[in-house]
């Protein structure tokens, strides 16, 4: 949140705000180097924490895939969803029964666009690890190598936002910012201890004002939007021409994209620029998974639907830079109404605590313009659709048997401002409980300091 003393700094930081990129781990860059290149040299060491077989009963259940069950039952055990159904779903012996009467259950919330860990709090210069702003293309950097797992922001996202998985992207100073990483939102001593097992990598790209401003101000290319495209295209062509005889980290990432192993998360605000990027992707032979900060998606929702591209958007941010001047609160609803994919993202350590509220605002703006979108579909914007764009929808993002038991029990309607998570499970392990002061993570940084363990 912008404090007064930083209002000016924030104005310029906001000009930078917005980035994109995704993680991955088990990627095989088979297309490039012939020798034994370890495609996963920093593997996940995440293991689910212990849980008890649990039956959530009596609550209104949103399955994350558009389904809604009144007085539903959700069963999970051994880290997986076992069953989801109505009140008559049989509860196996040995399950702990939790009465959710008057409450709501959803899948864990997923943020497709976060910088937690890379821009952790306290937001001091020593922590500024999100933009390798020394070259307009840095496909060789990996966001995971900047993640500080002690960032207190992870704990707030869990406790206030019910966030169970999140994608950490490099910043948007660069046209190609590097690889992203997907994390499970559990406290850990190491980044690898949070790394989402099996999640594919993404690469972050950025359109528009940020790259041209950052490098133009250094007297370097690109200083214009046409410069942005030229540098992008040449970089792709160079990667394609690389014979792979000598390892090159940047090329490995780019070839991973061209091989379809690494997804593209593209920071891009303006409709016209998104259209150009879609053509560049066709020219070079890759696919865009999602446009992030896509405040003008509503102007080309048909094009986005036809190309199968998601739009990761805020509910109502607008007017903080020229390319956000046409942001409207109906954006998400208009995209959804056109049949294209909507994801609500945060790009913000505060907003990530309220993705459910942001989705509700976007839904309400749509309703006032005559577009009715069901609550169950709106929940999908912050669960399954995010997982889909991140490439993890086969294992999380909805409540279906066999999926990870990433679950939130809300103390009321998650689309109401008066609601907060009551319990949050990650892989069936209870990681937050509003009723249990000890079931609340406190980062190393906070120990012994004012506010330690406080209800935040």
């Amino acid at each position: 949140m912008t404090t007064i003393r930083t209002a000016l700094a924030a104005a310029s930081a906001l000009a930078l705000a917005a980035c994109a990129a995704t993680p991955g781990s088990d990627t095989k860059s088979a297309s490039s180097t012939p020798a034994a290149v370890d495609a996963n040299p920093y593997p996940s060491t995440y293991r689910p924490y212990p849980g008890t077989p649990t039956a959530l009963v009596g609550a209104t259940v949103y399955d994350g895939a558009g389904g809604r069950i009144e007085n539903g039952t959700v069963l999970f055990a051994d880290g997986k969803v076992v069953g989801i159904g109505a009140a008559d779903l049989a509860i196996p012996a040995g399950y702990t029964r939790i009465d959710g009467t008057g409450k709501y259950v959803t899948p864990g919330v997923i943020d497709i666009h976060s910088h937690l860990g890379d821009y952790p709090t306290p937001s001091v210069e020593a922590h500024s690890d999100g933009n390798e702003a020394t070259s307009p293309t840095t496909p060789e950097v990996w966001a995971e190598h900047s993640v500080w797992p002690q960032d207190p922001g992870f704990t707030r996202a869990l406790a206030n936002g019910g966030v169970t998985a999140l994608q950490i992207l490099p910043g948007s100073a660069n046209l190609m910012g590097g690889r992203a990483v997907t994390l499970k939102n559990v406290p850990s001593r190491t980044m690898q201890g949070m790394k989402f097992p099996g999640a594919p990598y993404s690469m972050k790209m950025a359109c528009g004002e940020n790259p041209k401003r950052v490098y133009g101000s250094k007297g370097r290319m690109p200083s214009t939007r046409m410069g942005n495209l030229a540098v992008n295209r040449q970089t792709w062509l160079n990667a394609k021409a690389d014979d792979g005889k000598k390892r090159n980290l940047a090329t490995e990432t780019l070839k991973g994209v061209l091989a379809g192993d690494i997804r593209i998360q593209n920071h891009c605000y303006r409709a016209d620029e998104m259209a150009i990027v879609l053509d560049m992707a066709k020219e070079m032979g890759y696919k865009v998974a999602a446009f992030h900060h896509a405040v003008e998606s509503y102007k080309i929702a048909d094009l986005l639907r036809e190309n199968g591209v998601c739009s990761a958007v805020w509910a109502d941010w607008y007017g903080f830079k020229m390319e956000s001047y046409d942001g409207i609160p109906e954006n998400a609803a208009f995209i959804h109404n056109a049949g294209a994919c909507v994801v609500i993202h945060s790009d913000d350590e505060n907003g990530i605590q309220r993705l459910n509220q942001e989705a509700a605002k976007a839904q309400a703006a749509g309703r006032r313009s005559g577009i009715q979108i069901s609550d169950a579909d709106v929940i999908r914007w912050i669960t399954l659709n995010a997982a889909t764009a991140m490439g993890i929808a086969d294992v999380t993002g909805s409540l279906a048997p066999g999926k990870m038991a990433d679950v939130v029990l809300w103390n009321g309607d998650p689309l109401s401002v008066y609601t907060r998570p009551e319990k949050v499970w990650v892989d069936g392990a209870l990681m937050f409980d509003a009723n249990d002061p000890k079931r609340r993570p406190v980062s190393d940084f906070e120990l012994g300091q004012p506010g330690e363990g406080d209800v935040k």
Binding site: M1, T2, T3, I4, R5, T6, A7, L8, A10, A11, L14, A15, T121, P122, S123, V124, P152, G153, R156, E209, Y298, A301, W314, D316, Y318, G319, F320, K321, M322, D326, G327, I328, A338, E349, N350, G351, Q353, Q357, A360, K361, Q363, A364, S369, G370, N411, L415, S416, V417, Y418, T419, R420, A434, N435, F445, E446, P450, G451, D454, V455, K456
Partner: protein, 457 residues
Amino acid sequence: MSVRLLLGAALLALSAPAMAQDFAITNATVATGDGSEPQDGATVVVRAGKVVAAGRGVAIPAGMQAVDGTGKWVTPGVFAAMTNLGLFDAGGVQESNDIGARNSPFGAALDVVPALNPASQHVAVARNAGITRASVFGAPSSTIFGGQGAVVDLGADNRMVVRPRAFQLVTLGEGGARLAGGSRTSAHALFRNALREARQYGSDARISGGGRPAPVQTGDDIPIDPRLVDNTTAREDVLLNRFDAAALVPVVNGTQTLYVNVERASDILSVLALKREFPRLKMVIVGASEGWRVASELAAAGVPVIAQPLNDLPASFEQLAATQSNVGRMVAAGVEVALGGLAGTTGDQPANLTQFAGNLVALTKVPGASGLSWGKAFAAISSVPADIAGYGGRMGVLAPGAAGDLVVWDGDPLELASAPERIFIDGVEQPRVDHRTRLRDRYRDLDDRDQPKAYDW
């Protein structure tokens, strides 16, 4: 906006005072903004731009137009404390941004009034979210002083200023330290020196030069110091130029409120201690992320607070104890707290004040957390900020004689699904069209087969 609409807006602006309506809204859920809980089946009566009465059992004057408010909520307009409304168009577009002046030779003397632009889209967007009044500040940039902020209304007309030079802003803490040369010690030394110079400047006739005898009347209650219009003034000050010194005279005299931006508990105590040295200072603490840690001291000093309500991260070392329970705990301790400082255009935009207030209500259901009742939460964005701005009982409240600023909502105004249906400022109904609503209407469908979208207006 089309030429037609622009003309319409101009006509509206010119005729606005004549358009104040006399009306009553009946059978609505009414929240008066004074901290009390909403009442069902209530009536609000507005006449000549002022509230006449609000509550249950209020009679409608004979012949007055009555609007059925069944199913609606009626509240005073939201008062957004500490905004930049009117000072920018697109924050990152430097040319459009008058929030700060990093290279200015002036600090305390800066006055936001000539920069205010009521036609900024951000004013319209905030108004369309139910905000009718605001305080506007300039960010401290060249010195620890941000200059003189104003109280404004958000009416769709050419007159935005309600009270110019309503307050002076100084930033201490980490931000002040940076601007003052690198440390809090320097910031406090600069600040004390400035107040002493101002005290001297205000009282010492010998350095006042040959100023005109009579103060320049500007229509507000803080007249311009005559020395500011006198070119013969000479003074051997060391740090403050005469404009900055003169601007601080009403601060040190206690006739102009001083807003002090600090976050850390120890910084708040250091600020409260200044009252011993400069007893006439009339202060408001802005920020106060760690206010809950010194809530009893704040309450004892009678110093109000304008706080960002949902800060819960150690965003800096001076905010280690930040928590969403901050406001609830301070209020419980007896501190007068307004929500404010949502100056941005992202998650912390003024239009989201109602959402933030609703979050404080949500905390009342979280074990161990401190929130606010609905009535107190709404007061924190209506009557309390109005009171802090010097308009207690006159703004931010539906009470006899208060400004006819009211909003008719389609539901609970703190709820995410709700929005204003009608907005009145001084009894004048406000237009609902802005850049964003026009874009919404243009792109509601994507059909451009017959003509490009550019003809769709």
